[in-house]
């Protein structure tokens, strides 16, 4: 979206006639006077549909000892998420497992779908389909829901004595504790957004320059890094909730 050298509004870089790179074009939907990013919604709905489908398949016939292989697989996933929540929150982790699990699964599946599925085959009028987490709006909304959740958890568990947390360990740290309330969602959102966007841009630029074989190591690194980022987001969310429920140990 720069106007360097007075070219067109969205300059498209192309070297060999094999690949183009353009950044900043989105597929807009106009709904009730608001512009929505259509490509983010389409892939997000696909991710939600996949997660819901897997969950429904696993719970159609619930047995104590699973006979359904899908139930077995999803039990591993649920136990892993319970492990994350339990490590960070200690004793009363059970009611927050759905939230942490939703964050982890949504971010993991959307990052991996963005990296693995050949989206270019679906032709959009403008822009193209990619991981929904490469849009800062998605990651900010996830981070803000985490923020609201840990406030809600603290207030529900401790009432208004929740605000004593700002004065611990010493009242001198009050401005820093208040600032932390703003930096927590900021760092959560930018960490995820930056990782996913940087990986996509790197792969795009490498594909533009050398379309054969060279982008592959970066794509594999992107798969690995994006799954770590999903784990980090869920772990940090659980840690913030645990911290606001229990207070400083």
């Amino acid at each position: 979206m720069t106007s360097t050298l007075s070219f067109d509004y969205n300059p498209t870089i192309s070297t060999l006639p094999l690949a183009d790179l353009e950044v900043g074009k989105h597929f807009y939907w106009e709904v009730f006077g608001y512009s929505l990013h259509g490509q983010v919604f389409i892939v997000s709905w696909l991710v939600i549909g996949l997660i819901l489908g897997a969950s429904i398949l696993a719970t159609i016939t619930l047995n104590q000892v699973p006979r359904n292989t899908w139930q077995n697989v999803m039990e591993v996933v649920v136990e892993y998420i319970q492990g994350i929540a339990k490590n960070q929150m200690g004793s009363n982790f059970a009611e927050w497992v759905p939230f942490v699990g939703t964050l982890f699964l949504f971010i993991l599946i959307s990052n991996w779908l963005g990296a693995l599925v050949p989206w270019k085959l679906i032709h959009l009028p403008e822009g193209e389909l990619a991981a929904p987490t490469n849009d800062i709006n998605t990651t900010i909304s996830l981070a803000l829901s985490t923020s609201i959740t840990y406030f809600y958890a603290g207030l529900k568990k401790r009432g208004f004595s929740y605000f004593k947390k700002y004065f611990q360990p010493t009242p001198v740290l009050l401005p820093i504790n208040i600032l932390e309330d703003f930096t927590k969602p900021l760092s959560l959102s930018f960490r995820l957004f930056g990782n996913i966007l940087a990986d996509e841009l790197t792969v795009s630029v490498l594909t533009l320059l050398v379309p054969i074989l060279i982008p592959l190591p970066i794509m594999i690194l992107g798969l690995f890094a994006s799954s770590i980022q999903a784990l980090i987001f869920a772990t940090l969310a659980a840690a913030y909730i645990g911290e606001s429920v229990e207070g400083h140990h």
């Binding site: 979206m1 720069t2 106007s3 900043g24 760092s187 930056g194 990782n195 940087a198 890094a225 784990l231």
Partner: protein
């Protein structure tokens, strides 16, 4: 004329942002990896746990470099100062 100065300044700022942002986390990650390897050498049975903690800490430090990259990307592709 002013437009080319804004563009030139943005490009220089983007380069410096990424370059400087890589220094601190580079030192930190090298440090963490070194201590992790020492821990594994001291107690090879704990390798899985050490590796898990190492990867988690590496991702935290990586985020600081990514902040610099985000600033650089927004200067190049979403520059608020260009006309």
């Amino acid at each position: 004329m002013a437009d080319s100065i804004v563009s030139a300044a943005s490009v220089i700022a983007a380069g410096i942002a990424v370059g400087l942002a890589a220094i601190g986390p580079g030192i930190g990650q090298g440090n963490a990896a070194g201590q992790a390897v020492e821990g594994i050498a001291r107690q090879p049975e704990a390798e899985d746990k050490i590796r898990g903690t190492l990867l988690l800490s590496l991702a935290f430090m990586e985020a600081l470099t990514i902040y610099g990259l985000v600033v650089a990307l927004s200067l190049i592709f979403a520059n608020p100062f260009s006309s």
